[in-house]
């Protein structure tokens, strides 16, 4: 505390001298934290969109078949519900993902047509927790009095020229290859121009089955963790409990290997299941996430080097300039370790205040940045929430990064000061005269 108080007074007295060091630290930390918060927000946004598209955090594939009758799927869903262990916030969703591109299916509204990449049959009421997180520009997912309903993305709604309450015609091809049409009421228009959402629509499950004129099918069973992403242990727990009920593929098996083995197996009598997390499902996005994190890591490393080298080299000059002061302190009885502690305390106070200022500025800058609608940038919508950047503030992570900067810089300052503070009082006075 003694050295800390002296350090604070010293910095205040020499504030002109320390201004540039403070600025380097504050700006460096500000840039670093902005990069971290924005990137984390972008990744979080992308993951949330993937979660919405796939219907959950963990997918269950297989059973008797990849695409199965609803009765089979309900049995498997029940098994999964019993396997989740202590997590009470887990919901099981059943979906049917229809491929409209295969047969050139499309939506029509007043003569205008648009194609879709995916039409997903969902139970809106069961998936309430998931659809509550959608950003709706119009309407909502609630069906109300309508029987056949659809949610479409804003870009698609604009192309069709339709609004909530309008009835669009879904031109489908049935399982028997006949052209079919069904009128769907648009109950909600969501904001998503990303690769997940733009050409995806969500149709009431019964309506989709009616359109394709076939028995109810399910090809996706997912576990949705309402309170946040499951940990590795959560997934292992489900896997272990499911293994007691049916044959399960190993957790670390690659998805393509699963498909290869499953399709060559006879599963008519024996169920074989496979659990896959969302990260593994979207392997292309995993690469994107890794690339983003790598870029941020490079920025952080560069800034840490700049801060620590900058401060330590500047401190070297400062210590040399204050050798008379050091010599005087030695002469009145302070040990060289004491002088070291003094300078280290000054560096620590400087770094702490600089980092705190940088943190505050990063919050302001990211807040200002999040005000702007960036959805006009083609392809960028994947990283946005409601068209805006949504910086993710992880206090623990930020504290850890700041700690790394402080420790790294202090170590480099320490290394620099080691020899300089060992000068004798006579030597110090001699050097200055």
């Amino acid at each position: 505390m003694f050295y800390f108080n002296i350090a604070v007074k010293s910095i205040i007295e020499r504030k002109r001298q320390y201004k540039s060091l403070f600025a380097v630290c504050a700006v460096g930390v500000c840039l670093m934290l902005c990069a971290i918060m924005v990137t984390d927000g972008m990744i979080s946004s992308m993951n949330e969109k993937a979660r919405q598209y796939y219907g959950g955090d963990v997918l269950f594939l297989g059973g008797h078949s990849i695409t199965k009758p609803l009765t089979d799927a309900l049995e498997e869903a029940q098994m999964l519900k019993e396997s989740v262990g202590d997590r009470k916030d887990v919901k099981v969703f059943l979906r049917y993902n229809h491929d409209p591109e295969e047969h050139g299916e499309s939506y029509y509204y007043e003569g205008t047509t648009v194609r879709q990449r995916a039409i997903i049959g969902v139970d809106f009421e069961n998936e309430k927790d998931l659809f509550d997180k959608f950003t709706f520009v119009e309407g909502t997912y609630h069906k109300g009095e309508y029987e056949d309903t659809v949610l479409i993305s804003e870009p698609i709604a604009k192309k069709l020229g339709c609004h909530v309450g309008d009835s669009i015609t879904y031109f489908a091809v049935t399982y028997n290859n006949y052209a079919n049409t069904i009128d769907l009421v648009v109950t909600g228009i969501f904001l998503d121009a990303s690769v997940f959402g733009m050409y995806t629509s969500y149709v009431n499950y019964d309506s989709l089955i009616k359109a394709i004129d076939y028995d109810p099918l399910v090809d996706r069973i997912s576990l949705y963790y309402v309170n946040g992403k499951p940990s590795g242990k959560d997934i292992e727990k489900v896997h272990s409990e499911m293994s007691k009920k049916i044959q399960m593929y190993p957790l670390d098996m690659e998805k393509k290997d699963f498909y290869k083995d499953f399709r060559s197996s006879d599963t008519t009598k024996v169920r074989k299941g496979y659990l896959v997390s969302l990260d593994s499902t979207v392997s292309d996005l995993k690469l994107l996430v890794q690339a983003l994190r790598l870029i941020v890591a490079a920025i952080v490393l560069l800034l840490v080097i700049i801060i620590s080298v900058g401060i330590s080299s500047t401190y070297r000059v400062i210590v040399i300039k204050r050798s008379l002061e050091s010599g005087t302190l030695r002469a009145i009885g302070m040990m060289s370790s004491g002088i070291m502690k003094l300078f280290i305390s000054e560096a620590f106070v400087l770094l702490l205040s600089g980092c705190f200022t940088g943190f505050v500025f990063s919050l302001i800058i990211t807040k200002i940045g999040s005000v702007f609608d960036l959805s006009f940038i083609s392809g960028f919508d994947l990283f946005l929430t409601g068209g805006h950047l949504d910086p993710h503030i992880d206090i623990v992570k930020i504290a850890a990064f700041i700690s790394v900067i402080i420790v790294t810089t202090l170590l480099s300052v320490l290394f620099t000061l080691r020899k300089l503070v060992r000068v004798s009082p006579v030597g110090a006075i001699t050097a200055t005269t």
């Binding site: 007043e110 003569g111 047509t113 006949y178 079919n180 049409t181």
Partner: protein, 263 residues
């Protein structure tokens, strides 16, 4: 009083008679026979067929586009070739069917792409399946039929339901003229009963004792634009001219022919 009542009754009966279909003289057997004849009239087996097609697509609000093509058919072998001769931007493109596969050729990248009979022909209201012989009698069963008048033609009106999964439309309504067994009008419906397309063939030309449509009009009852509050649907008008039933070289029904024609 009695005379007035009789006059009114006579007038009502006469009116009902004029509005009602013609008296049902066609039996189910005859209706089926007529349907088979209609199919036969679209099939030019035993020889090759060649004609110039002009396809005018009218998209309300966007204007008209004209495509010209030469059509070659060898129905006995289920083969055909279409070479697009205009406009310049599409010149050299083409379609060829053999071994039950239809290939689309684009001379720009010299690639053949697999397509299907269900797909649209050059983004018009026409399907590829409209350009080949019809097998309606085999693909559909007659749910209902009656004699009706369609313009100047005495026709049998059919309500048909698909029995095969190879067809596009679950329900078809058809008008076939009784005198010559020619398809005059066709309505294609979705499984849910929505009208999807209307095809009208008002006139035919007789060449070498075979009937070939002089023109066809296809209306897409889904695509269009609202103009002045009224829906205007996309239409495709096809004119067929210079019909010939002379034998063509076998190479015409091959990918090589399309590649050579585009050079």
């Amino acid at each position: 009083m009695k005379k007035t009542f009789n006059n009114i009754l006579f007038t009502l009966l006469l009116g009902a008679g004029l509005l009602s279909p013609l008296s049902a003289q066609v039996t189910k057997g005859k209706a089926l026979e007529l349907l088979k004849q209609a199919d036969k009239n679209t099939n030019y087996s035993g020889t090759d067929f060649k004609a110039d097609y002009t396809i005018v697509t009218d998209k309300p609000g966007s204007g008209k586009s004209v495509t010209s093509a030469v059509m070659y058919r060898r129905d006995s072998a289920n083969m055909f070739t279409i070479v697009i001769t205009g406009p310049d931007s599409d010149k050299g493109k083409g379609y060829v069917q053999f071994d039950k596969n239809i290939w689309f050729y684009d001379p720009r990248d010299r690639q053949f792409t697999y397509t299907s009979a269900r797909n649209r022909f050059q983004n018009s209201a026409l399907n590829n399946s409209d350009l080949i012989p019809q097998t309606i009698a085999d693909d559909y069963e007659i749910k209902d039929y009656k004699e009706v008048k369609l313009g100047k033609f005495d026709c049998v009106y059919y309500e048909l339901s698909a029995v095969k999964k190879t067809v596009d439309y679950a329900t078809v309504k058809l008008w076939v003229s009784i005198d010559d067994g020619l398809i005059r009008k066709k309505e294609d419906y979705s499984l849910s009963g929505q009208l999807l397309r209307t095809t009208a063939i008002p006139s035919y030309q007789k060449v070498d004792n075979r009937f070939v449509p002089s023109g066809m009009l296809v209306v897409d009852n889904l695509r269009g634009t609202k103009i002045d509050g009224k829906m205007q649907y996309e239409k495709t008008q096809i004119t067929i001219a210079n019909v010939s039933f002379q034998k063509q070289s076998n190479v015409v029904y091959s990918k090589k022919f399309l590649e050579e024609m585009s050079d």
